[in-house]
């Protein structure tokens, strides 16, 4: 690799050629402020906050988009740089709805922290914001154009990573706007509600629909039994909300925190993940044995369901009919568990803690009322849960480790790895292999399907039947597999698709500013959780076994079909 030597603020730095000034400065221990820059995304160069002086240049250079040159002399702080950075942030603030006190991003906002860092204590510019309507058209996301700084991070996410492509820049000059569809509301723009845009937005221009107050009301309502379930991915991300390092496992603290908030039962979606494996594994076997539609594709990611229903409806028969673990949990909680504790479904309030904004939409789907009432009452994101914990004054870092409640809090390592891309596949293979062959797996680790590679493949021998599987995460990767299926070129029997990059650990409801580096850490953590579990195969989960014995009968039974399976519809525009 060729290297380049330059000086930054008088310091000699040697970096590979084509490194940006921004990265070279980082190496020299200098942190240049940025806004439109986001790791893993295309360079945009539009906010101009990162400008620096380059000797001999008439203008300042945007350090994120300017590559280093041999002998270049850079000054990252000077009178000109200070003036430009400050003026730029003042200009942004003067076209912004500056009600920080009533803002969901207060305290975690990148614009706010830029203003603070640049020591902006007054603004010479008049506020010229032309207020636009706030988009509350979906149950998942709020778009507030009055907060938008036009950094383009959401556009990059929607166009490049997700390739749903419904967000784009429109209009000119001060009228510039990020629009969804042709100026339409998200609800009719073909949005899949993945919320990935909301994890990269630096301000409060796209964020989760906050439903914490509904949950507080239920908790404070003594006539309700309030049950909480928490998704596999939350235990490896919630700690970040409390300034712990990415990759910190906070399983026991999470259970303790939920209990402190006042939930009556602290259960685990991992239980329902094990249940999903039982149903989905048997569905796969059934399709393999009876000539059903193959490849079968997983159905536990609601953003993915929103995508296929709107963009590839012709492939809907490939979807497993299994509900997602969140929804399986809801219907079991309000039937099986309700009976156990002698309550009616309407007396129970089910809250789920999800890494995902699409889960909010899913829980409100008309198909999801199989207990007779809405199966899951509120789906909160990781970020909303953290907000509740802070609100209640709980010091999360000081919480003791506590267990989940029984029976719906009992789970296996297979349930846990649902949170990472490839996890559903691996969990399914662990069970399907043993069910079909009757043998115990020599090794439980299907490492081929792990990790952040866009599309992963593996083959397993099931009593002389070779099963080819594929795993994709992020819609851009999913599309590639769908095209193969459409063209009849997909030699797979089973496919796992997760809407979000990295799977649920990278979900759209996870802590803001999730990067690939952070995704790696969370994935590592989730396999640690798996390794540490006494049971690591879904069919060995005693609570799941009891559920079948006492209530469902067997996988794919009529009752299972009623409570645990669903249908899809063509929602093409």
């Amino acid at each position: 690799m060729n290297t380049v030597t330059l000086t930054i603020d008088g310091q000699k730095v040697t970096v590979p050629e084509n490194t940006s000034i921004l990265d070279a400065a980082k190496k020299a221990g200098i942190d240049i402020p940025t806004l439109c820059y986001f790791p893993d995304q295309n360079i945009k160069g539009n906010c101009r906050v990162c400008v620096v002086e380059v000797e001999g240049s008439r203008t300042l250079a945007a350090s994120c988009s300017t590559p280093v040159n041999e002998g270049m002399a850079v000054k990252t702080w000077s009178k000109n740089v200070m003036n430009a950075r400050r003026t730029i942030v003042q200009l942004m603030l003067a076209d912004h709805d500056e009600d920080c006190n009533e803002c969901v991003k207060n305290g975690v906002c990148e614009l706010q922290s830029l203003a603070q860092r640049l020591n902006i204590q007054h603004n010479p510019f008049k506020n010229i914001l032309k207020p636009k309507p706030i988009d509350t058209s979906t149950p998942s996301l709020i778009r507030n154009p009055n907060k938008c700084v036009k950094c383009g991070r959401c556009v990059d996410m929607c166009q490049e990573t997700q390739q749903v492509g419904i967000l784009f820049d429109a209009y000119r000059g001060a009228d510039s706007e990020i629009v969804s569809g042709l100026g339409k509301y998200l609800s009719d723009a073909g949005c899949i509600l993945c919320g990935q845009c909301s994890t990269v937005c630096p301000v409060a221009a796209i964020y989760e629909n906050d439903e914490t107050d509904k949950v507080w009301q239920a908790i404070f309502d003594t006539s309700k039994r309030v049950i909480v379930q928490t998704a596999p991915a939350i235990r490896v991300s919630i700690a970040e909300e409390f300034d712990m390092l990415p990759g910190t496992v906070a399983l026991g603290q999470l259970a303790a925190g939920l209990r402190r908030l006042g939930f009556d039962d602290v259960f685990d979606t991992d239980f329902a993940a094990d249940l999903t494996i039982m149903e989905e594994g048997h569905e796969l076997l059934d399709r393999l044995q009876h000539g059903g539609m193959l490849p079968m594709i997983t159905s536990c990611s609601p953003g993915w369901i929103n995508f296929i229903e709107q963009y590839y409806p012709d492939l809907l028969p490939h979807l497993s009919t299994c509900k997602s673990p969140q929804q399986m949990f809801g219907s079991i909680a309000k039937t099986y568990y309700a009976q156990k504790i002698g309550l009616k479904p309407e007396d129970i309030f089910v809250v789920s803690i999800m890494p995902c904004t699409a889960k909010k939409y899913e829980s409100g789907r008309p198909e999801m009322n199989d207990s007779g009432v809405r199966d899951v009452d509120v789906a909160l994101t990781t970020r909303e849960l953290a907000r509740m914990i802070r609100q209640a004054g709980i010091d999360f870092t000081a919480l003791p480790e506590e267990p989940f409640d029984e029976p719906l809090g009992i789970s296996t390592g297979a349930g846990a790895i649902f949170g990472a891309t490839g996890g559903v596949m691996e969990a399914a293979l662990r069970t399907v292999y043993e069910v079909v062959t009757g043998n115990t797996l020599p090794s439980l680790d299907f490492t081929d399907v792990r990790g952040l590679k866009g599309i992963k493949e593996a083959s397993v021998d099931l009593d002389d039947v070779k099963v080819n599987v594929a795993v994709a995460h992020g819609i851009a990767n999913a599309k590639k597999l769908l095209e193969l299926i459409r063209n009849g070129a997909a030699d797979y029997q089973f496919i796992e698709i997760m809407c979000c990059p990295g799977g649920c650990i990278g979900g759209g409801g996870q802590p803001y500013r999730t990067t690939n580096a952070i995704r790696q850490q969370r994935i590592k953590a989730i396999y640690e959780v798996d390794k540490a579990m006494p049971l690591r195969k879904s069919h060995e989960n005693p609570a799941v076994q009891a559920l079948y014995e006492e209530f469902l009968g067997r996988p794919l039974s009529e009752k299972s079909h009623h409570l645990l399976h669903t249908t899809y519809s063509n929602r093409q525009h």
Partner: protein, 434 residues
């Protein structure tokens, strides 16, 4: 017609039928193409253009030969030539004049440029409103193809080249080279950050030579007559001629081909015949909407890239707009800023947000509500835009403000004190604002 004007680029304009390729050929047209293809290597053409000292006429005065060399030297089988005929600059209509008067000359220039840099395809991106120029250029391309000077194996050489005429998307910013390229690619016309520059990664990320109409139209003359003949007109550092568009409060408006080296005074009073009526010249703006505004006592500056630069001026598109003493400087600057606030593409913060704020600040002067602290704000804002905007639009749009603050500060002061000397900022009160 003043005898200061030259007929070189414009030699055929008005004298031949712009549709008829035979009239072009019978007046020496396509001589350069034949000469280049049969007797010169591509590098030879580039060397001749380099020796001519031709500087880009689109605004930035970049050496054309050097740009060609960069495209030539960038590895790649697919390369493009793009002719920038978007001409959105207010008060500028020289490219239209060249396209309507002598379309084949431009076609020949583009083919020569394509031969020099190793391109196979050229695009002419013409401002959408220029119906006649679009039609004439399309016709010229078609006729040229008919006689075999476009297409495969031109003049039986291993040289394939064709040209497509595209009509512009109608925004001022689409004249900026990368916005134009994006627009050609079918995207909304917004600039890209640089580097990489178009010669390295331009249209569809291929090496691309992008030049102004007038720049390319000079190439046939250079190839036919040699760089020495080209340099026989003009100055040492500004060779050849320049098309200048005169408009505003001036008696003789229009496009004029002028030799480099004459003074602005010659242009205003000899060519332009001065300000009409009883009025006095107050100010001229040179280079287009983002050009400097200078007072009438600065007219000894020469039409010469170096002399203008020395005096803080830029040639820009070659537009000169004259303003007489009935006009208000604040009012003029305000309308220019309105234009930029509207034409900013909105991609980068300094320009998207800066132009409307600049407008508001100047508007305060015209309303009589400005205070001395406005000067500080104007200083930090104009400097930020000039230094930190992504493209030339935002970098240069503060120029009218900066230059009038330099040369017409007294008029700003008067407005702070509630007086508009031209009586424009108040329609009711004889020049009193309040």
């Amino acid at each position: 017609m003043s005898d200061l004007t030259v007929k070189r680029l414009t030699q055929r304009c008005g004298d031949i039928d712009p549709r008829d390729v035979s009239e072009y050929i019978s007046t020496g047209g396509y001589k350069a193409l034949v000469k280049a293809l049969l007797t010169m290597k591509p590098q030879g053409v580039i060397d001749e253009v380099k020796a001519s000292g031709l500087l880009g006429r689109g605004g930035a005065a970049f050496p054309t030969g050097l740009k060609m060399q960069m495209v030539h030297d960038t590895p790649g089988d697919v390369k493009y030539v793009v002719c920038n005929a978007d001409e959105g600059e207010p008060g500028t209509f020289k490219d239209r004049y060249l396209m309507e008067g002598d379309p084949y000359q431009l076609v020949e220039g583009i083919i020569l440029a394509g031969y020099a840099v190793g391109a196979q395809k050229g695009y002419i991106y013409i401002r959408g409103e220029y119906d006649r120029a679009i039609e004439l250029m399309k016709n010229a391309v078609e006729q040229t193809r008919k006689i075999g000077y476009l297409g495969n194996n031109i003049l039986k050489q291993h040289f394939n080249f064709d040209i497509e005429v595209r009509s512009g998307a109608g925004a001022y910013i689409c004249g900026e080279e990368f916005a134009l390229i994006e627009s050609l690619e079918g995207k909304s016309g917004r600039p890209r950050y640089k580097p990489p520059y178009p010669p390295v990664s331009g249209l569809w990320d291929k090496p691309t030579l992008i030049n102004n109409v007038e720049t390319l139209a000079n190439i046939p003359y250079i190839v036919s007559n040699g760089s020495k003949a080209f340099r026989s007109v003009g100055t040492d550092n500004s060779a050849g001629t320049k098309l200048i568009c005169l408009s505003g409060n001036i008696a003789n408006r229009g496009v004029f081909e002028l030799p480099f080296g004459i003074t602005l005074k010659d242009i205003i009073y000899d060519i332009g015949q001065g300000v009409p009526g009883e009025r006095e010249l107050k100010m001229i703006q040179i280079g287009g909407a983002s050009g400097s505004c200078i007072p009438s006592d600065m007219l000894d500056v020469k039409l010469d890239f170096a002399d203008m630069k020395k005096n803080g001026l830029s040639m820009g598109s070659g537009a000169i707009i004259a303003f007489d003493d009935s006009r208000c400087v604040i009012d003029i600057v305000k309308s220019l800023l309105k234009f930029f606030a509207h034409e900013s593409c909105g991609k980068c913060t300094p320009c998207r947000e800066g132009n409307p704020q600049l407008y508001n600040l100047i508007d305060d002067f015209s309303k009589g509500s400005a205070t001395p602290s406005h000067y500080d704000v104007l200083q930090s804002l104009t400097q930020t835009m000039q230094q930190a905007a992504l493209c030339g639009l935002g970098q240069s749009s503060p120029m009218p403000v900066v230059s009038t603050l330099l040369y017409f500060k007294d008029e700003y002061d008067m407005h702070i004190n509630g007086r508009c000397p031209a009586g424009i900022c108040s329609s009711t009160n004889g020049g009193e604002i309040i």
